[in-house]
Amino acid sequence: MPPDSGHTFTTSGAARATSRPTDLRARGEPFLWGLGGALAFGVMMVAGLLLLVLWNGFATFYPRPIHVVTLVNGDVIAGEPTRTEDFRPPATEVAALPAAVRAGIETNLGFADRTLYRTGNFDLYGDDFRWITDYAVARVATPPDLYLFERLEWGAFIGRIKSVDLAGATFYAGGIPLDRLVAAHDEARRRWRQIREIEHDEIGRVNQQIESERLALRKVELRSGGPATDYADAARRTDARVVTLTGEYEGLAARAAALKAENARYTITLTEIGGREKSQNLADIVRFYPANDLSVLARLGVYFSRWGEFLTAEPREANTEGGVLPAIFGTFAMTLLMVVAVAPFGVMTALYLREYARQGRLVSIVRISVNNLAGVPSIVYGVFGLGFFAYIVGGTIDQVFFPERLPNPTFGTGGLLWSALTLALLTVPVVIVATEEALAAVPRSMREGSLACGASKWQTIHRIVLPRAMPGIMTGLILAMARGAGEVAPLMLVGVVKLAPELPIDGIFPYIHFERSFMHLGFHIYDVGFQSRNSEAGKPMVFVTTLLLIALVALMNATAIVVRNRLKRKFVGGQF
């Protein structure tokens, strides 16, 4: 019994003895249960969602065994069992089954189990996954000589190694020196990375230079209004430069071709479970492992190698394979840029509203409007960002600063900067409201103390009020950051793309390319999960990418919270 229900006044014991106990409603017990229940429900939803993401996200990359399934009708398939579910087989099919199986299905209310196998070998089979009903299975085996190959193209291959050709030396199944194969594979991959570096970075740089020569020439042409003397001079110079650069380009291309030719000498021939063969350059295989013959340590090795690739590589196979580094990078850069844009803007607005504006009807209207902005659907911001930032502001910038590149837009289309500004606009109400509250919470005595010392209003705000309000302002920025990092819809209009050829930051002057389109984890989730050819293959990636996005937001928030707590200790703590 709660202590207050047993308590009675003792002033007139006889009279109180007959009094009724406090009734349940007055004690508030049912409401307490309601409140607690609401909290528990909320916590369960959040914890459930997190658990789902964590479990699926962390389990995805762990190598599974490969089953070889022999069906009743004699077919043999090999694949990784992905998941099992109930289904209701069609009546005609059930009728054709042996009596024992039919009875089993009937006791199960007409349901049977089926398993989804990831068979891979898309180039041979035409699909990656296959459902196998349990009653159609004659037997399941896990032979140790089955390998899983992750390839650059066509996804996974599941099968056996038939032969290996290492620069002329051919080995056949049973006599393959595994260590030599692994070493040759590593070498081939190293050369492949070199080729990529040449093609992507060095040839990219040369192309960039040729392009900038062309643009410089076009600039001269625009300025001089046509073929004049200085234009002819410039054209000659440009041609000379382009010839040099083209020579450079050809040198690089030759180097890449040599490496490619070397790689073509290392091949492997695979057979799928049905006996069909497939020859493959060793360099085009990302990794391979004997799925049924792995120690736990080897499994963990594959697991972490996959995570490493996921975090540091670029996507391939329509984003369903490979890594998400460009998306991590894009999300991070965009969010930081957004904070840089929203912080001064929001704080200054709030400062004027709270400290300088005469509190009256007009300020109230402004404040209500700002709060209402937070309720505008985010896609509307996307439309606004595209129309205002990209087309109007960006278009003007293009005409003034980059006329030589027209009609190709530079800033006149979606890009990193416009995305960050659009999200800054979206999150500015959060910052304004939080900052106003933080400013209002600075004790009057502090302001008066400073003013009484002869400080002006601005000095007081700058030296006393702002530092003291900083933790509250940081809270607003944290909220804004969380909101901005998870936003996808407006970004689809103002600069996020499915696959960005270049990162927004690289080694080419001016290093940060605000005008470039970029990849974003949130959009990546949408793209992989709902826009890809093979949604079943994309599903695990959806979870992993979600996990990563949550981790990234949590990391950024944690950093901001640490900073805020340090400020709080410095400016607020210790008051008696």
């Binding site: 005469r358 004790p443 103390g449 009484a452 010392c453 002869g454 400080a455 530092p467 410095k570 210790g574």
Partner: protein, 274 residues
């Protein structure tokens, strides 16, 4: 020190004066001062002069306008919307509310100490030199000299000299209040305004502040608002008794507490109301 310069002298506002004059004339002269919060009048026709170098206490029941009057002296009431004033208020002959008065420069001549200690969230050193910092003083020597002088002036030097770099928020309440006094005198003001400086402090801290007021007397003119009549009697030379926005009696503390000239004052100091 000359005593009883003016005998009982009722004037048109009805205030009774028996002020002990200082050796060097007056610092602040208020004549016929009225203040309104919106339409409500809070101060009625206040007229008095504060002798230089003495301690002047303002007493009276809550809401009588003591703090309002004090805050008029350094124009802190400017911060409140909807305040109108009329009448005359001068510091050393210069009009406080005249056109073109530099309020910021004025406040530097009037140090103020508040009811609750309000150290800034900075180090002790930075707190004390804050008035210099806002003037743009950067010379380390000047700052350190000022800090030492002000902390010694506020009797805090011995306790604080080894922890100047520590946060001021780590000091005790009484130390914080002395720090605020040090901050007020760092700017070298002419007048120190104290708005119930001991009301948030325990008796020991209070007695330290009172000793300090005694030491500061002479160098600064001190005007102190207090609820504590014993405190007024202990620290002040002159006391002003206010009631419902009017100045009832202003005169030598000893006389005001032992033989007041007005019945209202007698009732208040003997505890019959308030």
């Amino acid at each position: 020190m000359a005593t009883v310069a003016r005998s009982i002298q009722p004037d048109e506002s009805g205030t009774v004066y028996h002020v002990r004059a200082g050796a060097e004339g007056t610092v602040i002269d208020v004549d016929g001062f009225n203040l309104f919060y919106g339409k409500k009048q809070a101060l009625f026709d206040i007229t008095f002069s504060v002798p230089r170098g003495l301690v002047c206490a303002l007493i009276g029941p809550s809401g009588c306008g003591k703090s309002t009057l004090l805050r008029c002296l350094n124009r802190m009431n400017d911060l409140i919307d909807d305040v109108t004033i009329n009448g005359d208020m001068r510091i050393e002959g210069h009009d406080l509310y005249g056109p073109g008065v530099d309020v910021i420069a004025l406040r530097k001549r009037m140090g103020m100490v508040f009811q609750k200690p309000n150290p800034f969230p900075m180090s002790i050193f930075e707190n004390v030199v804050y008035p210099l910092r806002i003037d743009g003083v950067r010379d380390r020597n000047v700052l350190e000299e000022t800090c030492e002088r002000a902390l010694k002036g506020a009797a805090l030097w011995d306790e604080a000299k080894d922890r100047l770099k520590e946060s001021a928020l780590g000091l005790s309440g009484g130390q914080q209040q002395r720090l605020c006094i040090a901050r007020a005198i760092a700017a070298d003001p002419e007048v120190l305004l104290m708005d119930e400086p001991c009301s948030a402090l325990d008796p020991i801290a209070t007695s330290k502040i009172e000793e300090l007021i005694d030491e500061l007397k002479g160098r600064y003119t001190i005007i102190i608002v207090t609820h504590n009549m014993q405190q007024a009697a202990r620290v002040s030379d002159n006391t002003a008794f206010m009631y419902l926005g009017r100045l009832i009696e202003f005169g030598e503390t000893e006389i005001l507490f032992t033989a007041p000239k007005v019945t209202k004052t007698l009732d208040y100091v003997t505890g019959r109301f308030g």
